[in-house]
């Protein structure tokens, strides 16, 4: 067991910010939070699945947006700084309101719309559109990319990396019938022309998705479709 200094950005300025916690190995940042909750029961943070699937435990650790459940604490580190995600309103302590994120997601009309063709298409393992879809499919809506993007949270008209990545997976899908409409949606203000290749999103994605590449791909298609 090693002592670790932890500083937490609290929404109540009176609340305790500095803690010391004994950690063993392995310890994730989520384990640190669960341990600290026993010291200070008023500490607010959220998590659900603890296996990097729900995307609700996203916080900033030493400034970087990460999944608390998937971030090991390095023993011997000179302390941790834990903050809520940036670019989203804070509910309390480390809990943020993800409404701006989901509003952006919703505005690309993220739902699959079956084609009107009589025969539903299936995508075989080697179908070319599968590779494009799968490159962006495993998004867990954790919001790490939103925080890591210099544009998304600060400037709410930008749809952000995750929503555009979702639009890409749909536009890539030969089974989807709303391609033209969606390409038009993402070509407007706040859409694909907003990305400045900062790649904060791609560097932050805990699922290894490259949303910046998805946005560029989506933009190529928008141009190709004459939108």
């Amino acid at each position: 067991m090693t002592a670790l200094a932890v500083e937490i950005e609290r929404s109540d300025s009176e609340a305790r910010r500095h803690f010391t916690v004994e950690v063993g190995e392995p310890t994730m940042v989520l384990d640190v939070l669960l341990a600290l909750q026993r010291t200070d029961a008023s500490l607010a943070f959220r998590y659900s699945c603890r296996v990097a699937m729900c995307g609700t435990c996203t916080i900033r650790v030493d400034g970087r947006p990460v999944l608390a459940c998937r971030t090991p604490v390095l023993l011997g580190a000179d302390g941790l700084l834990l903050e809520p995600l940036a670019g989203l309103p804070v509910v309390r302590d480390l809990i943020v309101d993800t409404t701006p994120f989901s509003t952006a997601w919703r505005s690309v009309e993220p739902w699959f719309t079956p084609r009107a063709d009589a025969e539903p298409r299936v995508l075989a393992a080697d179908d070319p559109s599968r590779e494009a879809i799968e490159s962006g499919l495993d998004c867990i809506s954790c919001g790490a990319c939103w925080t890591a993007c210099d544009l998304a949270g600060a400037e709410h008209r930008f749809l952000g990396p995750a929503a555009l990545n979702r639009a890409m997976t749909l536009a890539a899908d030969a089974r989807d019938g709303a391609r033209d409409r969606r390409l038009r949606l993402v070509s407007q203000e706040g859409g694909v022309t907003r990305c400045h290749y900062i790649h904060g999103c791609s560097g932050a994605c805990p699922k290894g998705i490259d949303p910046a590449a998805s946005i560029r791909r989506l933009r190529r298609w928008s141009i190709g479709a004459g939108r």
Binding site: E155, R157, S187, E189, T193, S222
Partner: protein, 114 residues
């Protein structure tokens, strides 16, 4: 109908490639091939007697203004809320770009027809 933002994007990228050649070439000619001290009025007079250089300079000017205009338009979009001040900034940008294009075009036209 192609979306205006896509058009702006395409303008940005095409002018970028054009400018990469024209601006670096321009700088090389005025600073590296010739020393900058030797690029006075006689140098300009000689250069602007050639239609090629006139075309070069005007294309460079127009492309640079289009490129910068599109870029700054986007920056205004990002920094200013979509209300009155934003429209004002956009208008100021358009006026500035227009003045520069007018001055530059006039200068080149006068020099070319002299």
């Amino acid at each position: 109908m192609t979306q205006p933002r896509i058009v702006a994007f395409l303008v940005m990228r095409t002018t970028a490639v054009v400018l990469a050649v024209l601006v670096v070439g321009h700088f090389a000619v005025t600073h590296l091939v010739n020393d900058v001290a030797e690029t006075g009025s006689s140098f300009v007079m000689q250069r602007w007697s050639s239609a090629l250089w006139l075309a070069w300079d005007w294309t460079m000017l127009a492309a640079a203004l289009a490129h910068a205009g599109a870029g700054i338009w986007l920056m205004i979009d990002e920094q200013a809320p979509a209300t009155r001040p934003r429209r004002l900034y956009h208008a100021a940008l358009v006026v500035t770009i227009g003045v520069l294009l007018a001055v530059g075009t006039a200068a080149l036209t006068i020099a070319g027809t002299r």
